[in-house]
């Protein structure tokens, strides 16, 4: 890690020697562990509070002061000794202007050999830095928001990656919390925004509210007013103000395997190559054309040659119209929305097949599910592919209002489209749910799930409800209290 800092030279008699200051500053830089580099005008922060998590989506924040528009560029080498370099590039335009400008985004960081970034405005570099392979830590973060985080240290295991993050550093985007496992708040520190905590929980984080929250944190208290409950792919839990209670919750928490769900979505190909006419048919037509052209030429003289040329033109036009695929690129997508309560985490896989070789561009930031170089440029993902190859890209997770959810033991379709293939794991098949319908789950026929749902079901807890909408699969995680009327 290269962290740029400057220490003013000290020449006055009796002042602390400059060398000692440099040593202190170096120690601070080494122990800070923040992936950040800054100058007077710009600061780049990678990861939550500067803590990167490998193989996860991480927040990126750029703060510039009184600077012209600039471009943030990251270069990540995720290759290996055997494979050689495999480069992932990321670039984003950062607006400038007078005053402070804050740019925020989310970036998928794979396990890397090296990672470097520059923030440049024209030819001048405002900030830069780099990380080595030793900084690629895939352990999830355990975030503690407390005025005395050390008092909670004993609740976490020795190997836990416990970080102390300022409440104001928490973004309000679900993808930014992909690398976070738990957020613990005890009400003693400044309160984060309720939106940030809701986004974290819906993104799959276990949010623990320890003890009673002060009145100044009413927003958070409202979030947990209903007690412990699911929110999106995660949970919000009220627990006692005691490290033992935290330890018990940490041990019991089994986070939803979001990466596994994405892999299940992409298990079978979504896009298939265009159909090709059979070889006998093509050869028969070609042979007929050759015969007609030669016979016309041999016995027709000049008119025969003219007719042969016209025939060649007609066959060319017909061949083009029949054999040319409608588009050089074919795409399809599949989404699974993991819901709990009123929010759902959308995990989407886009698959693009290109017929000519070239760079395919997919709207939205994403990461290919196969190990190939790619780039993300201002929210668009680019992948270079050979001919007739497809790539599946996991799109950055996002939040949506939940259509399928449990409430008071009832299964509700809050959406505008009917849901079919409704299935509750442990109970069996349920009748289709029309839009706006509420129905209590009841024991039904087991098995017979469509293949995409069956693959997802293998990664979901008992009591989860699954249903198919026209363009997505809805998943409603079971209430924490258990499924009413469920089989033991």
């Amino acid at each position: 890690m290269n962290v740029a800092f400057a220490v003013p030279a000290v020449r006055r008699r009796g002042a602390v020697p400059a060398a000692l200051l440099r040593v202190v500053a170096l120690a601070v830089a080494l122990f800070a562990g923040h992936a950040a580099a800054q100058t007077g005008r710009a600061q780049v922060e990678l990861g939550l509070g500067g803590h990167l998590v490998a193989d996860a989506w991480n927040p990126v924040q750029v703060t510039v002061r009184d600077a012209a528009p600039s471009v943030l560029r990251l270069r990540i080498d995720e290759g290996s000794l055997l494979e050689g370099p495999r480069i992932v590039r990321y670039s984003a335009s950062v607006p400038g202007g007078s005053g402070v400008t804050v740019f925020q985004d989310d970036l998928y960081v794979p396990t890397f050999r090296s990672l470097s970034w520059t923030l440049a405005s024209g030819r001048s570099v405002l900030a830069s830095g780099s990380l080595g392979a030793a900084d690629a830590d895939a352990r999830p973060l355990q975030v503690v928001l407390s005025s005395s985080p050390g008092s909670w240290r004993s609740a976490f295991g020795a190997d836990a990656r416990l970080v102390d993050v300022a409440a104001s550093d928490l973004p309000a985007r679900a993808a930014a919390f992909d690398g976070v496992r738990t957020i613990l708040l005890d009400g003693s520190a400044a309160a984060p925004r309720a939106e940030s905590i809701a986004a974290a929980a819906a993104g799959g984080v276990q949010v623990l509210l320890a003890g009673a929250l002060p009145a100044s944190q009413a927003g958070l208290a409202r979030l947990a007013a209903a007690g412990s409950h699911r929110l999106g792919a995660g949970v919000v839990m009220r627990i006692a103000d005691d490290p033992a209670a935290v330890r018990a919750r940490l041990a019991a928490w089994n986070p939803q395997d979001r990466s596994g769900l994405v892999q299940a979505l992409a298990a079978d190909r979504l896009v298939h190559p265009p159909p090709t006419p059979s070889q006998p048919l093509v050869l028969s037509l070609a042979a007929a054309y050759v015969l007609a052209a030669l016979l016309g030429l041999r016995f027709g003289g000049a008119p025969g040659l003219a007719a042969g040329l016209v025939l060649a033109l007609m066959v060319s036009v017909a061949g083009w119209r029949l054999l040319r695929p409608a588009s050089p690129e074919l795409d399809a997508s599949r989404t699974v929305l993991v819901g709990g309560g009123e929010l759902a985490l959308a995990l989407k896989v886009d698959e693009r097949l290109t017929l000519p070789s070239g760079v395919v561009s997919l709207e939205g930031a994403g990461r290919p599910l196969t190990p190939i170089p790619y780039s993300v440029d201002d929210g668009t993902t680019h992948v270079e592919l050979p001919r007739w190859h497809a790539v599946a890209v996991a799109v950055r997770p996002a939040l949506r209002p939940a259509s399928l959810r449990f409430q008071d033991g009832q299964l509700i379709n809050d959406g505008h489209t009917p849901l079919r293939d409704v299935y509750v794991l442990g109970l069996g098949r349920q009748p289709d749910l029309a839009a706006g319908v509420t129905r209590a789950p009841a024991p039904g026929e087991e098995g017979g799930l469509p293949a995409p749902l069956a693959r997802l079901a293998a990664r979901l807890p008992r009591g989860t409800a699954l249903a198919q909408a026209p363009e997505a699969v809805w998943v409603a995680l079971p209430p924490l209290a258990g499924l009413p009327g469920g089989r033991p």
Partner: protein, 216 residues
Amino acid sequence: MTRAGQGPNVFTLVTDRLRSADMLQALALFLAAQLFVLAVRWPGAGESNEAWFALAQARMVLLSLAALGYGAAETRASTYSRRATAGAMLMFVGLSAPFDVATYAASYPAVPWWWSSLLPFPATLAYFGVGLALGRAAAWARIGALLPLLVPGLLVAGIWADVRLGIDVFNPLTAALHVSLVHLGAMAALAAATAAWLARPARPAQRRRGDAKERG
């Protein structure tokens, strides 16, 4: 068909040339070769379609070889005969176009369609001109008997020179598969020179023979 003071109609000459036994057999062989390539390279269901790549290369090489060969063989022929043979070579390009167009459509290569469709015309004319020059040089050196070896040898030498020098000027194998302005420039220049050579007025004796042939 023949106006006073002019040679015979070019289309008629080309038709007659194409209907001659050697040319008709060459055309049949050329089209059959493309049928063979199509049979070998057409994919099965669900496979990527790579038929165009093999067919475009085979087509360009066969056209180059035929144009070189016929050009070399026309050294002692009349201007009308040369024009007719050059026109017949261009008919080879036109009559084989459906193979190129259909496989191009199905294979969806990154090369633009106009490159694949238009390049064979100047390239064939260019190689025909090179063949004429080769035949004349062989006649001058009194090694005309070696033309069956010199024709493919010249093509191989062009490919070898391109590969050795890392350029893309004469190689018909690579020319078909990607746009090369150098190759296009070389072929266009040679084709223009060939066309200028063929467009020279025929000598009176040749013109009379052409008129007689037209009347007959």
